[in-house]
């Protein structure tokens, strides 16, 4: 598929996603801003998919080496990010049992 129409598609996606980002993030409770940071961290590490393809396709030594390091870096973000976010959220307890059931 040709790159100019790709660019257009990508632009549309980017704009829509950016809009959603603003709408959604603006409504995140300030209580959770720290967990939010570590969560977006983990999600952002989705870049790993690009790296995996590099390693998997093994097109050149350089690309494979770079890809390998990239996968390691990204994966550590995914694992670490979800772990610590989960730990933080586990800590948030309400004195109302109702919420406890959910947050616990």
């Amino acid at each position: 598929m040709n790159s100019s129409s790709n660019l257009i598609n990508a632009l549309f996606i980017f704009v829509l996603a950016g809009f959603i980002g603003f709408e959604v993030i603006r409504r995140v409770s300030p209580l959770l801003h720290t967990p939010l940071m570590s969560l977006t961290n983990a999600l952002d590490a989705i870049a790993v998919v690009g790296a995996i393809v590099l390693v998997g396709e093994h097109k050149s030594t350089l690309s494979t080496v770079f890809g390998f390091i990239a996968v390691v870096a990204a994966t550590s973000n995914i694992v670490g990010g979800f772990l610590i976010t989960d730990r933080m959220l586990k800590m948030f307890k309400s004195s109302r049992p109702a919420d406890k059931s959910v947050t616990k």
């Binding site: 980017f14 952002d44 350089l62 890809g67 990010g81 933080m88």
Partner: protein, 464 residues
């Protein structure tokens, strides 16, 4: 990734679509603590689907991938188990990792695709690598300063901004020439190096306490570079994740700079730390009233309504668990205890919430500034624990103050104010706090943890 026809490709793309939706929901559910846990699950499932889908690509050799994934997991686990007080530097570090991934993939793609690469692609690729590169070193510097491996205080010199500007310009020049002659591969490494150097110099002049704002900014950059990578690889999933991350970083830094009454451009162009310069201008001369743990305990147990105002000092002193004991002791005596959370108390957004939550204090006792400010006049005791700037009345009254206009917690309106800190030293903003000289203010000098501990002992009659 590049959208060839074929059933598997379609399947993969559909998995990516589902993953994107799950990522969005994951952030959406962070809107409240009751749904936040679902948010994580959504994020995790999305991640698994995305990675699983990617592995479906034909002609992949898996063993290396497997090794890399395992290695990453091994490094990741400890990063997920750092102490809560180390969260800021951990966040910075993981920004570095994320950006490293993006930069490496970008570089690899460059060597795989050039010279025959479309100009637009080359432009985006340069953006990806430059943003990624400066985020790598910038985040590492930030982490270093927060971990206090590197000197906290801002390092400034003449013509600093000029140097930084020239560097950035240089990187852009190379980028442009690469767009025009993608053949000139030899230029590429220099562009990366300059980006890396720029990241370092960008952070040098910034004071340690300003790192949180910088971190969120770098968070935004990391997101943007990931989105750029999405453009290069024509991966919608990446574009979406990047856009979400980018807007998140941007919004958080805007919130912070607003709450610190800094113009956002002021934040963007790292002109901070300067504030730090004017530090310790507090005149020790004026008299203050101080009190002992015994007296403090007596006053607290006599009170009906107490509002605790935690700040950076509580975090430094790791006093949150002692504070929890205090909360229990007072609550047992029928005192109504609530916590007033200033948006920029501590050193990162939501810092206090996390620490207090860690100490098992129910989150519905943590009240946001705007909600609780009205209640101080009807409050018997405002107990300030290691907070300073966020309680500084000068922000309301004294137009000459560097924090003038910054919204603060009106602790001075409470009948009695007690402030736990080690000395008369100023806080992050480096300015004196008139609050300490008011007639209704009692200074409780000492380390937050130790002092709160002894108050608790007093309350529980010597047995603590």
């Amino acid at each position: 990734m590049t959208g060839e026809i074929g059933a598997i490709q379609v399947l993969i793309e559909l998995l990516y679509l589902i993953a994107s939706v799950l990522f969005i929901l994951s952030l959406k559910w962070m809107s409240s603590p009751t749904t936040a846990r679902h948010g994580i699950w959504a994020g995790e499932i999305g991640m698994v689907l995305a990675i699983g889908g990617t592995l479906l690509n034909h002609g992949m050799s898996y063993h290396l991938i497997a090794i890399a994934l395992v290695l990453g997991a091994i490094i990741g686990v400890p990063l997920g188990e750092v102490a809560m007080t180390a969260v800021p530097q951990r966040t910075a570090l993981s920004h570095a990792f994320g950006a490293l991934c993006v930069t490496l993939v970008g570089s690899a793609e460059f060597y795989l695709r050039t010279p025959d690469i479309s100009r637009f692609m080359m432009a985006v690729l340069s953006l990806e690598v430059i943003l990624g590169g400066l985020t790598v070193t910038g985040s590492l510097m930030a982490a270093g300063k927060l971990q206090e491996i590197l000197p906290q205080r801002p390092l400034t010199y003449k013509g600093q901004n000029l140097v930084n500007f020239l560097l950035l310009a240089g990187a852009l020049v190379i980028a442009v020439s690469l767009v025009l002659h993608p053949g000139a591969r030899s230029l590429f490494p220099f562009m990366v190096l300059i980006a890396l150097a720029f990241g370092v110099l960008l952070i040098i002049p910034i004071g340690g306490a300003d790192m949180p704002t910088v971190i969120s900014l770098l968070n935004g950059y990391a997101g943007l570079s990931a989105a750029a990578m999405g453009f290069v690889l024509d991966s919608k999933l990446l574009i979406i994740a990047g856009a979400l991350d980018g807007s998140s970083g941007l919004i958080l830094s805007i919130i912070m700079s607003k709450a610190m009454n800094r113009s956002f451009t002021n934040v963007l162009f790292g002109a901070f730390g300067q504030v730090q310069a004017s530090a310790a201008a507090g005149e020790e001369a004026r008299p203050v009233r101080s009190a002992t743990p015994e007296e403090a305990a007596a006053i607290l147990s006599a009170a009906n309504r107490v509002i605790v105002v935690p700040g950076y000092g509580m975090a430094v002193a790791q006093a949150q668990h002692k504070v929890r004991e205090l909360y229990d002791a007072l609550t047992k005596r029928g005192v109504d205890v609530r916590f007033a959370i200033h948006p920029v108390a501590g050193r990162m957004p939501g810092h206090m919430n996390v620490l207090l939550a860690e100490a098992d204090i129910p989150y519905d006792r943590l009240i946001e500034m705007d909600e609780i400010n009205g209640d101080f006049p009807q409050t018997d005791v405002a107990l300030v624990i290691g907070a300073n700037d966020v309680t500084n009345p000068a922000a309301r009254s004294d137009a000459s103050s560097p924090i003038y206009g910054m919204p603060i917690l009106d602790v001075d309106k409470a009948h009695t104010v007690m402030v736990i800190k080690r000395s008369m030293n100023p806080g992050f903003a480096g300015i004196d706090n008139p609050l300490y000289y008011l007639d209704n203010t009692l200074m409780l000098f000492g380390d937050a943890k130790a002092f709160v501990g002894s108050i608790v002992r007093e309350l529980s009659g010597g047995h603590g």
